[in-house]
Symmetry: C2
Subunit: 539 residues, 2 copies
Amino acid sequence: MQATQAQLNMNFIGHEAVLGEGDSFQAFAPASHAYLSDEFTNVTVEQADQAVGKAVAAFAAYGKLHPGQRADFLDAIAAEIEALGDELIERAVLESGLPTGRITGERGRTTGQLRMFASLLREGSWVDARINPALPDRQPLPRPDLRRMLVPLGPVVVFGASNFPLAFSVAGGDTASALAAGCPVIVKAHPSHPGTSSLAGQAIIEAARKTGMPDGIFSLLHADNEVAQALVAHPDVKAVGFTGSRRGGLALLKVAQERPEPIPVYAEMSAVNPVVILPGGISDQAGTSVCEKVAAGLAASVTLGVGQFCTNPGLVFLLDSPLTESFLETVAEKIRASAPATMLNAGIHSAYKKGVQQIRVLPGVHVLAEAETEADDERTEGRSAVLTTTAPLFLSNTDLSQEIFGPSSLVVICQTEAELADCLQSLEGQLTATLFATPDELRQSSVDWVTLLQTKAGRVLFGGYPTGVEVCEAMTHGGPFPATSDSRTTSVGSGAILRFVRPVTYQSFPDALLPLALQNANPLGIWRNVDGNLTKESC
Amino acid sequence: MQATQAQLNMNFIGHEAVLGEGDSFQAFAPASHAYLSDEFTNVTVEQADQAVGKAVAAFAAYGKLHPGQRADFLDAIAAEIEALGDELIERAVLESGLPTGRITGERGRTTGQLRMFASLLREGSWVDARINPALPDRQPLPRPDLRRMLVPLGPVVVFGASNFPLAFSVAGGDTASALAAGCPVIVKAHPSHPGTSSLAGQAIIEAARKTGMPDGIFSLLHADNEVAQALVAHPDVKAVGFTGSRRGGLALLKVAQERPEPIPVYAEMSAVNPVVILPGGISDQAGTSVCEKVAAGLAASVTLGVGQFCTNPGLVFLLDSPLTESFLETVAEKIRASAPATMLNAGIHSAYKKGVQQIRVLPGVHVLAEAETEADDERTEGRSAVLTTTAPLFLSNTDLSQEIFGPSSLVVICQTEAELADCLQSLEGQLTATLFATPDELRQSSVDWVTLLQTKAGRVLFGGYPTGVEVCEAMTHGGPFPATSDSRTTSVGSGAILRFVRPVTYQSFPDALLPLALQNANPLGIWRNVDGNLTKESC
């Protein structure tokens, strides 16, 4: 990589590094609560249009590449990100306030995702090829030759998230899965980490040049809300990926729905990730102190990363039992001992403080514990808090089921299974739902807890904690509205690629005119469904 | 089947046959242009709510059934439809004006679809099971056990189509795929064929009783628009299937988007199904008169079923060549010789006449040919018509690219490849796009015609005619907006089941608490993705 420093503040309209012709702004360092010296420039609507125009041209060329070439591009992005070395890590730490260890881990997650999609492309079966060969002699009518596979939607706009400056941002999961699917990507950078964004964007452009990708396959834009909405409204944009607030996600969804041609918006927006604890789930077994372990684990999950995860457990439903007191005491002890830490930006920090404050003053809500150490800097550091309330109160006030983004959780103590079931039934859609219980008590209960939680969430955990989202084939990081805007999808794991494709059927095509995945000889060697049977054979 | 005649005019709220408490109406026989004596009753919003309430209860019970039991239910529906015998055929002929042969064929398609989904369920791999077993020793962090499969969305509302009183109606593809997916179905019957609808509904209820399905797994409602919209707005309804007009589909989409929890609407709305003819595609080869054959085939496709198919070829783009005259002459001859025939209902008939009239009076639009025989009944019978125009005129008037539902087509004669490409580029999304050409001329052309058509349609044909939609694994009956409201899906073929499911991940579950599809022993014997490899082995 060359001249990184010189390009730290650049936009990329396709391969071209340019200054925005809109407003300029400075990055903010949350740990020092100070603006940084580098000046960033927002692009104008006209510049954003140029990026879309280049993406349209790139789409046609990119679609003609062998899947292996797309894979090489993704691998090259991972290598270029690694080649940025400490400069990327330091910048991300500076702009996010997150610790170096966390950012280093997140870089590994980012490059791992890119390489996972590269190997998915090389294996190739993800295109869900289906072949029904012609039956010319069928009665009463012959059947034509029909072959179907998944093809890319077209240019995709991705909105980076503030809480994962690498893994859910410029070169994150949305970008990796859209590029893997065959779609050009235009990233609208998150203003919380503009320098990190530019560096990651530069890595992608460098990888595109080195692997001969068409100009326009990727653009990185710093932009205000007006330009962001214009991008979503642009007729040549065919899908949107977003991770962030509910308000932000819904605003983009509205723009997308009101287009003459509506397009899919994959917005991962908000969740409180309920944790349900039945007495058996914290009963001591064979001398192990399960109750203490679960309570300590919960407190650790609530405070992890200053609570700034979409999967943070914000609600705990505890079925009252003789263990309640001891459970709560351990949680309280751990929360009191937790250290305040810098939050991602001033807006998140003040929203967190305000959110906790609004709840704690309600009659019937009690503060179980707060971090005892005062914050070094009241303007930036979040202090953990766990509150308690009762099921009737919870049910009577929908404010209590809203997400407070940060290291807090509300424990709802339920007196009966019916109360607990009512509470769960009242919840909106969630990314995760966790159940602590024994198989025996599940069998004996009159409520089907697993099914109840499954209707509410994209991932159901038996024990464990929802923070920590594995990147793998079996992950669902999604869930019913408003956890996401489209419950049929995941934004993490190999399934994320399915968001950016649609099926196309080719009828009666000469073999040579078919895409490789559908040709008789199966030149890609992929699994295909031929008349209902999965096979790698030719047909 | 018992007491069919007595129940011809019934609604079914779950298993219970009831009269609607709303307005009453009579069926209409298009062939005789007369109302029939049977009186049907629309349900009220309250009755529709009861159906949804029953569906919610049934959803929980239905989800616990072995996939084989759902398959038995679908097979039983097919058997009950056949058991209705001639009564169903005669009623459908009476209410649709379609010939007996066509309706008999459509019944075969309907029962075939149901049995296809039954065998898909028995094979079982469609749930896309993915397993990443735990890696307790992985560094730096252990990996939990993660297992993911597709689960049903919940109660689905289906709107029957007027043009397929069996195959896209009460027991049609939407109902079959939603029931197969595990979703209860509430059908809003099309008022064009209420008796046919009640008979099919009765067959489904009979099958549900015989196979022990929960009350509420299926409801059939006659209803007005207000009740229809209330169904789509009901918080417990989780998806909508629709086949019909663009106006109708967009109205439902709007209701679904404005819900507090938006839900997917799968509306198959409109298409003009462009047919592109390059000179090579109609050049005579080895003594065969290709030109005449293609022209005659096209005329047959335009007039098939009085043009009342979503895949009717409404636009033909002909690249001008020495063959133009002879091609058009054959088309004209066939169209002139075509017989007028009864259309589905008075609304469709008058919209067709009006649509053709609006186009034919435009300067630069010429009538190439019309059916020469006068209609026996001007109020009901549609007469075929083919018109011609030029590319510049086509490009200057978007009215010319709108669907006219019926046996007409507009031939746009293009002077250059660039003109032709501009015309195609201007089109909205389509169900199908057809290309007549030789592989040689495609290679030599400066335009990538296949890719251009693929961006516009869900199914691309090389030669052949778009009417005739095979029910199979490889079919895509879908396409970019406004052909459908969701280009990522198909409403015909086994892929239709994917519209009514979402992925759910189970983390760290005891084996016995997992769904069968995800248990270690693979008791269903399905294909599963285990750490990226497809296998039927246990894990």
